[in-house]
Amino acid sequence: MLTLAPVCGPEAAIARANPVAKLAAVAVLSTTALVAADWLTPLLLLAAIAVALPFTGIRPGPLARRLRWLWLAAGTVVLVNAVFAADHTGTLLFDAGPLRISTGSLLAGTAIGLRVCVAATAGVLVFATTDPTDLADALNQQLKTPPRFTLGALAALRLLPLLSAEWRHITTARRARGLEGGWNPLRRLRLFASTMFTLLVGAIRRAGRLAAAMDARGFDSGIPRTHARDQRMTPPDWALLAAAFLVSAAAVACSTALGVFTVVV
């Protein structure tokens, strides 16, 4: 479930970058893409991401597989917005009664699809290349988030794969008792509910035990924690952040110069 094929090795440049720097860079790019309403600005941002990819150490194959649903989603966004636009301007390209596509609506739809692409691609790039432990460490140290929240989430994350194994065990045990969903949807639903109940009973017990073990090791005892691994911004991290600002500014400047830049109102 959470052990998706990694899109880069642990030594890749982007994997070693500071998680907070990566988050900030993505925030800059996504905000630019979401504020700009034209089609050129997000396209330029996407192009910049594509150009930067070879320097990050990301493997293109696994990344493309991770993004394949995104392309489908973005395509749907373009189509829906092109067809159901409030007003159609320019030449009519397709007309079937209520379903119409015009050059104006197609352009507007494409712009929205491209903005979705920028935000989603940048987000995937960060979360697919960041170890959850490093992220929690960085959030604690740099943004001073409460460890009770970040480390609690981390511990819960560690237990998730156990749940899927547990689900399989419970389903098998149900078959042994003579319970099986089969083709009856009502029976399937009831079986699902009862399996879920058993799963939750186990999960709650387990969470209680884990909490006791964490308490016993002094977690959240009021002493300010130290950090085994130092997380801070290094010069390459500042460079990454600066690059994100530069690319955003350049994209906006470029589309303004060409007279297409508009802002979402």
Binding site: D131, P132, T133, L151, L154, A155, L157, R158, L159, P161, L162, E166, H169, I170, T172, A173, R174, R175, A176, R177, G178, L179, E180, G182, S194, T198, V201, G202, R206, R209, L210, A212, A213, M214, D215, A216, R217, G218, F219, D220, S221, I223, P224, R225, T226, H227, A228, R229, D230
Partner: protein, 479 residues
């Protein structure tokens, strides 16, 4: 080294009427190594939790005092380390080294001193991998050793061990004991351990304290003296006293074949070898076939395939009078042919009361109401579950839940019963009950197959043994 004192200590868990322990007066001197014995429900774990500072005011009601070096236990929490029995729920982090570091970070150890202490603790327990090792990739025994490293790295003055080997297979348990031996030799810390299997730990302790129900003191003194004077009594209370006789229940001559496995093979996609590779066997009415072998040898896979709960890649499991292989049978029909009992009884509970749990199988099989009622009454009596008939199965004790899961699988009178580690983690008394119950079922003509690590269980009941190794069957030893 910490001095431990209970003075008139009593504890009632929030929401319970009865006290878990009452009037406990105990003293453990600094540096002593103590084994705490007692039946289930004697409040041993409650005492350790109190010492570990885990009984906070909002979780129950306390009388008397728990003192460490003369101060309330909660104040000394940073100097106490506790190891629990379930390895899976003691690890917090994804990377092994980080998990050991977690306890040091909480203690505000300066960053430059954390990693040397992590490495030393990992060495001390014989952790065989790099600190960056994923904690999910570890076996149960390795996880438990890692959790022990997490305890030792904090340099506790009091080490508490709450059944540290109960959830482990024999190899994992021995590795933990080995790690404990070397770690305890290196520290002067006071140590208190709870364990049912006494024999393996006696060399680590110099004093035994035996508790009765509610935490009353039964015996206290050097191990040999306590075991010699109170051995029989303790064995009756559920303690595995070394040298106490283990029952044998020889089987009558077996009957006809009740379950046949032919070339059972299971290959997981992307695995480098089959989980099970061409295993054949004949299981006859009135016998118990013990399936043994190291971890990962395919024992549990065999139980799943033989029980018709997973589809084999090749081969088939069949019962007489049923032309289809078991994995093709609809669940309702399967449950009347072969019963399976899993390691975790709670996975099998499908109703809200003990009575319904027993009636479930027969009702599914379409038995008339009076026959179902008669069967349920009979099982309630036989398995001594009658007083609990209206209880929710999820509220039963470990031993009761285990008996109920066996009874539930037997209710629809299948001719074959498969058991996966039936005695895992049970105290001596529950163990004895399970041996008697299994022997009765066997002698009534049910064919039994038991996957087990438990040599004593196999010796007491098995007519034959099927030894698995890396998915293949070794020659079965006939007794």
């Amino acid at each position: 080294m910490i001095k431990v004192e209970f003075r008139g200590f009593a504890w009632r868990h929030a929401g319970r009427r009865a006290q878990a322990v009452s009037d406990v007066d105990l003293r453990v001197e600094p540096g002593e190594r103590v084994l705490l014995l007692g039946p289930s429900g004697s409040g041993k774990s409650t005492l350790l939790a109190a010492l570990a500072g885990l009984l906070t005011a909002d979780s129950g009601e306390q009388d008397g005092d728990v003192l460490l070096d003369g101060r309330p236990a909660l104040e000394l929490q940073p100097r106490v380390g506790i190891l629990f029995q379930d390895p899976e729920t003691q690890l917090v982090m994804a990377r092994s080294g980080d998990d050991v570091a977690f306890g040091l970070e909480n203690q505000a150890v300066p960053p430059d001193r954390i990693w040397p202490r992590v490495h030393r603790a990992l060495d001390a327990v014989g952790f065989p991998y790099e600190p960056s090792r994923d904690t999910h990739a570890l076996s149960g025994g390795e996880q438990q050793r890692l959790a022990l490293a997490g305890v030792l790295a904090r340099r506790p003055g009091l080490i508490l061990l709450d059944e540290p080997t109960a959830n482990l297979d024999p190899e994992g348990a021995e590795a933990i004991r080995e790690a404990l031996r070397s770690a305890l030799a290196d520290t002067e810390a006071t140590m208190i351990v709870i364990e049912h299997r006494v024999a393996d730990l006696l060399d680590l302790v110099d004093r035994v304290i035996a508790l009765g129900p509610g935490g009353t003191l039964i015996a206290d003194g050097p191990a040999e003296k306590v075991l010699a004077e109170h051995g029989d009594h303790l064995a009756a209370q559920g303690v595995w006293v070394p040298g106490a006789p283990v029952p044998r229940r020889p089987a009558p001559a077996p009957g006809d074949t009740a379950l046949r496995g032919e070339g059972l093979t299971l290959v997981h996609p992307r695995a480098d070898r089959p989980a099970l590779d061409g295993v054949s066997f004949d299981l006859r009415a009135g016998e118990l076939l013990a399936v043994t072998g190291p971890n990962g040898s395919g024992k549990s896979t065999l139980a799943l395939l033989a029980g018709g709960l997973a589809a084999p890649t090749r081969g088939r499991a069949t019962v007489p009078g049923e032309p289809r292989p078991l994995h093709r049978l609809p669940a309702r029909r399967l449950a009347t042919r072969v019963g399976s009992v899993f390691q975790d009884p709670e996975h099998q509970f499908v109703t809200a009361t003990v009575r319904d749990e027993l009636a479930f199988g027969p009702r599914q099989a379409g038995w008339p109401k009076d026959r179902v009622d008669a069967r349920v009454s009979e099982l309630l009596e036989r398995l001594r579950l009658a007083p609990l008939a209206a209880a929710n199965p999820h509220t039963l004790s470990g031993g009761e839940a285990r008996r109920l899961s066996v009874a539930g699988a037997l209710a629809a009178a299948p001719g074959v019963l498969l058991l996966d580690e039936p005695t895992f983690g049970q105290d001596r008394r529950t163990w004895g009950e399970l041996v008697d119950l299994t022997a009765d079922i066997r002698d009534e003509g049910t064919a039994l197959l038991a996957v087990t690590h438990d040599r004593d269980f196999a010796a007491a009941l098995a007519t034959r043994e099927l030894v698995l190794d890396a998915g293949r069957a070794r020659e079965g030893e006939h007794r």
